[in-house]
């Protein structure tokens, strides 16, 4: 069952991704991307990453993509011109290299995982629940990254403002 669901949503995700790169209109691309994200969210769920699923939907598919769509509308972007569809030399080369990269990224599959290393066992999750578990980690062990992210967001904020504002 899980596997079947995985396959279905995987196909959806890939379809969305293909849509992103094939759609002529940016808004269609954005929509495809949202589709991919949602499909991926479901796959997260299938991996028992409920919290991530939520964040994925809310922050990613929701907020971030909203922003993207907003900007597309703001700039009134339409479908791309003639040049887009044509297959040029560099593009062909890019496709070829992309294919190669894809193939190479499959090489790790040959590896076997060396074993369980973590403490996020089903057992533990059952005991404290996945969100609580992650929260504990986030504010315990992972406090430093958490703090850094706040800095990062501050930098992003200030950066976005300085760049986008007409005059400072």
């Amino acid at each position: 069952m899980t596997l079947a669901l995985f396959v279905v949503f995987a196909v959806l995700a890939v379809a969305g991704a293909v849509g992103v790169i094939l759609c002529k209109s940016p808004i269609h691309s954005a929509m495809s991307l949202v589709g991919t994200m949602v499909a991926l969210g479901v796959i997260y769920l299938l991996h028992h990453a409920e919290f991530i699923f939520v964040v994925q939907l809310m922050v990613y598919a929701g907020a971030v993509m909203m922003l993207v769509v907003f900007v597309i509308m703001l700039l009134d972007l339409r479908a791309e011109g003639e040049a887009e569809g044509r297959l040029t030399g560099p593009k062909a080369f890019g496709l070829l290299l992309g294919g190669l990269l894809g193939a190479l990224l499959l090489v790790p599959l040959a590896a076997r995982l060396t074993g369980l290393t973590g403490d996020m066992t089903t057992d533990a999750l059952v005991r404290v629940g996945s969100v609580e578990f992650l929260a504990g980690k986030l504010f315990g062990e992972y406090l430093l990254p958490f703090e850094i992210v706040s800095l990062l967001l501050l930098a992003g904020l200030v950066g976005a403002v300085t760049i986008a504002k007409k005059r400072l």
Binding site: F6, A13, V14, V20, L33, F51, V64, V68, L95, G159
Partner: protein, 101 residues
């Protein structure tokens, strides 16, 4: 029933590759941005899958942080798109080539 790791990783690789190909082939900067997001999403999938199979929380935490990073990047990226559109009147990557050589 567990989803085999290789399935998730394959999907991740495919999505990542599609993102990369998109960055290389599209002209519209916003689409390029989205392709980069796609790449990050692909990686996230790997993290989640690994976390699941290793029974390790780290992968999931990575995903959380990556999403935050992606959000910040998107903000800055979109700001740049706006700025470019303002100064160059274009959203096409290949038309931004003042600096070269």
């Amino acid at each position: 029933m567990m989803i085999p790791l290789s399935y998730a990783l394959t999907l991740s690789a495919i999505l990542f590759t599609l993102g990369v190909v998109g960055v290389l082939t599209r002209r519209n900067i916003i689409v390029l941005l989205m392709c980069v997001e796609l790449m990050l999403n692909a990686v996230n999938l790997s993290f989640v899958a690994f976390a699941h199979h290793l029974e390790s929380a780290e992968g999931q935490l990575y995903v959380l942080f990556v999403i935050a990073v992606a959000a910040a990047e998107a903000a800055v990226g979109l700001a740049i798109v706006v700025a470019l559109n303002r100064s160059r009147k274009t959203v096409y990557a290949d038309e931004v080539s003042l600096l070269k050589g």
